[in-house]
Subunit: 332 residues, 4 copies
Amino acid sequence: RSMAAVLRGSRYLVGRSFNHGAFAFVSSRSMASKTPVGFIGLGNMGNPMAKNLLKHGYPIIATDVFPESCKEVQELGAQIVDSPAEVADKADRIITMLPSSPNVMEVYTGSNGILKKVKKGSLLIDSSTIDPTVSKEMAAAAEKMGAVFMDAPVSGGVGAASSAKLTFMVGGAEEEFTAAKELLSCMGANVVYCGQVGTGQAAKICNNMLLAIGMIGTAETMNLGIRLGLDPKLLAKILNMSSGRCWSSDTYNPVPGVMEGVPSGNNYQGGFGTQLMAKDLGLAQNTATNTKTPVPLGSLAHQIYRMMCARGYASKDFSSVFAFLREEEGQQ
Amino acid sequence: RSMAAVLRGSRYLVGRSFNHGAFAFVSSRSMASKTPVGFIGLGNMGNPMAKNLLKHGYPIIATDVFPESCKEVQELGAQIVDSPAEVADKADRIITMLPSSPNVMEVYTGSNGILKKVKKGSLLIDSSTIDPTVSKEMAAAAEKMGAVFMDAPVSGGVGAASSAKLTFMVGGAEEEFTAAKELLSCMGANVVYCGQVGTGQAAKICNNMLLAIGMIGTAETMNLGIRLGLDPKLLAKILNMSSGRCWSSDTYNPVPGVMEGVPSGNNYQGGFGTQLMAKDLGLAQNTATNTKTPVPLGSLAHQIYRMMCARGYASKDFSSVFAFLREEEGQQ
Amino acid sequence: RSMAAVLRGSRYLVGRSFNHGAFAFVSSRSMASKTPVGFIGLGNMGNPMAKNLLKHGYPIIATDVFPESCKEVQELGAQIVDSPAEVADKADRIITMLPSSPNVMEVYTGSNGILKKVKKGSLLIDSSTIDPTVSKEMAAAAEKMGAVFMDAPVSGGVGAASSAKLTFMVGGAEEEFTAAKELLSCMGANVVYCGQVGTGQAAKICNNMLLAIGMIGTAETMNLGIRLGLDPKLLAKILNMSSGRCWSSDTYNPVPGVMEGVPSGNNYQGGFGTQLMAKDLGLAQNTATNTKTPVPLGSLAHQIYRMMCARGYASKDFSSVFAFLREEEGQQ
Amino acid sequence: RSMAAVLRGSRYLVGRSFNHGAFAFVSSRSMASKTPVGFIGLGNMGNPMAKNLLKHGYPIIATDVFPESCKEVQELGAQIVDSPAEVADKADRIITMLPSSPNVMEVYTGSNGILKKVKKGSLLIDSSTIDPTVSKEMAAAAEKMGAVFMDAPVSGGVGAASSAKLTFMVGGAEEEFTAAKELLSCMGANVVYCGQVGTGQAAKICNNMLLAIGMIGTAETMNLGIRLGLDPKLLAKILNMSSGRCWSSDTYNPVPGVMEGVPSGNNYQGGFGTQLMAKDLGLAQNTATNTKTPVPLGSLAHQIYRMMCARGYASKDFSSVFAFLREEEGQQ
C-alpha cells in the first residue's frame, strides 16, 4: 500500500467513521457523508460526468477555462472556483476531462495548475484521451508532490456519459484502483484495471485504432458488395454470421438503411466525429512511431480520416467514411 | 419456374415417385432412391465434400485431373470417369470444387468440358472461389446449352468440409435454389441465397476482404498494446467488450497464448493459409478495380499478405501476420 | 527473319522498286510511292496521329465506331471504310488506337474484326494502353492468321500526338521492329524496343505507376512543407537539387504558382486526367495481382486516384491530388 | 541586425583586428586568427565534420558522451572538455550533431547543457535531424539567454561529410545566416537558407519523405517490370527518359546490376540505413500528425521501412526495399 494511499486513507477513515456514526441518525444515505471531489473540464463529456457525481451525493468543486461551461453544474450545487490550483486546495480527489495533451499539461503542471496546491495523498484521475507518455510524465510530477495520478480514459460518447454507461480503462498503481473505482463507477458501467500508469490510455488508443480499421473496412466491403449486386441488408447479415463480423458491421453499420438508431440512418449526425477519430488515430500513430511498432492499416486509417477532415467530413460521424468512399451522385 | 427447372424437375418426379414406391419395401433410406450427382475436383476440400454426399446416399460420378485424388471416394463407392464431359453425360446435377478461375473455365468450357455433353435442364453448382465475372460467363455458356449454373462458394476450411459444417453462399436463379440446397445442405450447415449469378462469389470475396482487414488490424493493435505495456489477454478482453471487437479478436486471436485451439497457439500451422488469403484478396482487388470501387484498406491488406508470401509465410495460417509485424528476436 | 516479315517484305520490294523508278520522274517526295496504312480509332489521340502519317505521305484507310470522328482525316485525304475487317482487306500495315482492352479485342477478334480479313504477313501495331495479357492473346490470334502483332503504347498526351513528339514503347518480334519504327517515327520522337509482345505495355504501365507515386508523393511533401512554414518555390528548388527530385517535382509541379505552363497553374485543366491515371493504375494493379508482385505504394496510389474520381476530380489533371489532399478553405 | 549578432559581431571585430596585426608576422594563414568553435557530438558524421573545421584553421573545443569518440579530433589538435556547458564557456560559436531530439534537449537545456554557460550573442547551430518543434523550443530557450539558435540539418552521408560535400538546410534569423554559412561552408558544398527556425528541419524531413516514397516506388516498379519480362537496365533507361524518372531510378537504382557504385551493387551495404530512414519518416509522420496534414504515401513508406526493420533489414541501405519486396529464392 503506497504512502499516498495511506495518507488519503486516513482522511477516508475519518469520513467513514463519521459516516458510520451518521447512520444512527439518518434514515437515508447522507449527502454530507462524502468529501468533495474536484472536477476540471466541463465540456460535452465532463458536464454530464460531473452531474452523475453530484447525483451520487458527492460535493463538487469545479472549474473550466470557459466560465459559461460551469453554469449548469453550479445550478445543481457545484462550487465553482477560478483555477485548477484552487480545486486542488479544496479537494483531495480530482477528476480531469480535457481535450488534449497540452491542456492536461497546463491543468496539472501550469502556473495555476493542480500540482501547485495539491495535498499529499491526493488522488488525481485524468479521463482525457491523451498520449500515454504525457500520462506517465504527469504521474511522475504528481508523485514528486506526494500525490497519485491515474489515467482513466473513457469509451462511449455523450449519451453514455449522460446515462452513466461509460467504460473506464484505468492505468496506475493497483492499490489505488479501489479508490478510483468508487468515483468512476458513479459515471460508468465498466471500470477496467489495465496496469501501470499509461495503460489506460494504451487500451483506449488500441481499441479506437482497431475500431477505425474495422469501420473503414466495413464501409469498403459494403460498398464493394453493393456494386457487385448484393443487397446491403443481406450482405450485412452474411458478414455478421461469418468471419468478417465486427462491431462496425453488426452494431454500427455505416450503410444507410441497414440498421436503425445509428448515425448512418441520420445523415451521419451525432455519434463520434471524424475529427475526434482522427485525433485518436494521431495518438495511436505517435505511440506506434515512438515504440517503433509497424501499424500499416492503423496508419492508413489515420490518413483516410485526415483526408476526410480536409474534404468536409470533420464534424460528421466517423461512419460517414462510407459516404466518402462512395461515388458521387451523377458520376461514373 | 425456368424451363431448365421444368426439364430437370420431370426427372426428379420420376425419381421421387420411385422413391415413394421404395418406401413401402425398405425400412431404411434407400441408396437407390437418389439419382447420381457428378463431382469434379477432389482436392482437400472436394474430397470430404464428396464423401458427405455419399454418406447421404447420393451415387457419385467423379473425376479429377489427378487420378490418385479419386482413390478414396472410389473405395467408398463413387464411380470415377475420365473427364468432366463424361460426368455431364452420366449426371444431371454436378458440383465443381476447383482451385481458380482458369480451372473452372477449362472444366466447363474446355474441349472435354461439362458443356460438351451437358443434358438440358442440368443443375451445375460451382463451389470454387473465383472471379464473379467468370461465374457469370459460365452461367451464360450453360444457359446456351439449356443448363443452369449457380455459384456456391464456401466459407470454412477442411475441418468444416469434413464435418459438413460449411457455409454456402449461393448465387443464381432463385427458383433453382431449393434444388441446390438439397445437395448443399448435405455438405454444410448454412446455405444462404445471395441473389443473381455471381453474388455468391461476391459475398464470399467481401467477407474474406473484411476478414483480412480485421485480422491485420487485430495483429497491429495487439502488437502495439503489448509494446505499450498491456497484457495481451487483458487487451483482448477489453477489445472484445468494446467497439474494437471483431471475429479475429474474439474467435481467432493471432497472439500466441491468448486463446486455445487456434493456429496462433500452434505456430500458425493449419487454418487458412496466407497464400490462399492473398488469392482471395487478389479476387477482391480485381472486382474492385473492375467496378471502380475504392478499397484502400482491402488493397493494403492484399499487399501485406503478398509481401508475407514473398517473405516465407505463404503456407502459414493468415493470422501469422502478427509474427510478420513483430520485431525479430534480438532486434531493436 | 519471320515468315510474316518475308511475306510483307516481298510487297515492300515491289513498292520500293516502283519507288526507285518514280524517282526518275518526280522532284518531290511522291505520295504514290507508299503503300496504304490502316488506322483504326480516331479519337483525341488517334486523330492527330493519323494526320501525321498523312503528312508523311502515307495513304490512310481508316475507320472508327463514331463516323463523325473520321471527318477530319477524310477531308485530308484518308479513305474511310465501315469496319476493321475492311481496313485489313485494303492495307497490310494497320495501327490501332483504342480506349481499353474490350475495344481492342472487338477490333481484332470481333465479327467484323481485323483478323476476319487480315492478309498473310500483315503488320498490326496496337498503340492502345491495355493489359499486356490481352496484347499477348491478340498476338497469338494474329499469328494463327499469319500476321504479326506488336504492342506500341505511347507516352505523351494530345499535344505530343499533334506535334509528333510521342514516345512509343514497342513489344513484339525484334525482326519486325524496323518496319514498325518506319511508321511510328512519323508520329513520335522516340521509338523504344522493349522486348517480346506485351513488354511495350509493361513499360508503359510501369512508368505510369511510378509517375503516380511520384506525383502523390510530391503533392504530400509540398503540402507538408508549406504547413511547416516553407515557401513552396524554395521547397521545390531544394527538392530538385536533392535526392527527393523527381519528374513531378521538377517538371510538372502540382502546386499552383511554383511553375509556369503546367496544369497546376491553370486550375488543373488539360494535362492527363485523374480518371485516365486511375485506369492505368488499375492495369498496373491487375498485372501485379496476376504476377503476385507486391506493389504497396502503387496500390495505394491507385486507391487515392479512385477516391478522387469518387469525389469529383475525375476530369481534372492528375496533379490535382495536391488540391485533394489540401485542407478546404475555411476548415481546420 | 539582431542584438545577438551585434554582440557577437563586436567579438569578431576584436578577432579580426588581432588578425590584422598577426598578418605582419606570419606568411601563411594563421590558426590563431580564428576564434574557437565548439563542436558537440563526434559520431560517424560529427567526426569528419569537426575535422573539416580543423582543416580550415578553426580551433575546436569539443565534447561527446563517449570519450573515445573524441580521440581522433584530439590528436588533430582539438581541445576536449567534459560537458556542453564547458564548451559554451569557451566558444561563442557551437555546432551540435546529435542522434535525436532527446539528445538535443539534453545537450542544450540539460543540467550541464550549453545554455547553462552560454555567452550572450553566441551562435548555436544544430545539424542534428530532429523534430522542428524541438528546434523551435531550443531557439526560444537560447533567445532567453541572449543567444541565437539555428537548425542546419544535412543531406549526404559519411562520405559527403568526409569530403565536405554535405548540403546544409538552414533555418533561423536571416541576419545570422552569413555567420552560419562561414562555418557550414567549411563542411559542405551547399548551404541553403530555408526561412525561420525549424524550416531547415522541415526541408530535410520533406526531402527524405519524398526520397523514401520514390525509392519504394522505384523498387516496386522495377520488380513489377522484371516479372512482366522487361530487362531491368532497359526498364531503368525507359523510366529515366520518361515521367517516371526520379533520383532513385536514375542515380541510386535499387536493382543489383543496373548501376555501378551504388549499394544495390554491393549487397546493400553502406549508404543510408533502413533504420535511419525509418527514423526520419517517423519525424515526418509526427510533424504531419501535429499539423493535421494527410500524407498517405509518406505514412505507408514509414510503415514499410518499419516492417523492414522488424524483418532484419535495419542496417542495410534503404534501397534494399527491392530485396524485401522480391520473392524469396525457391518460392512461388
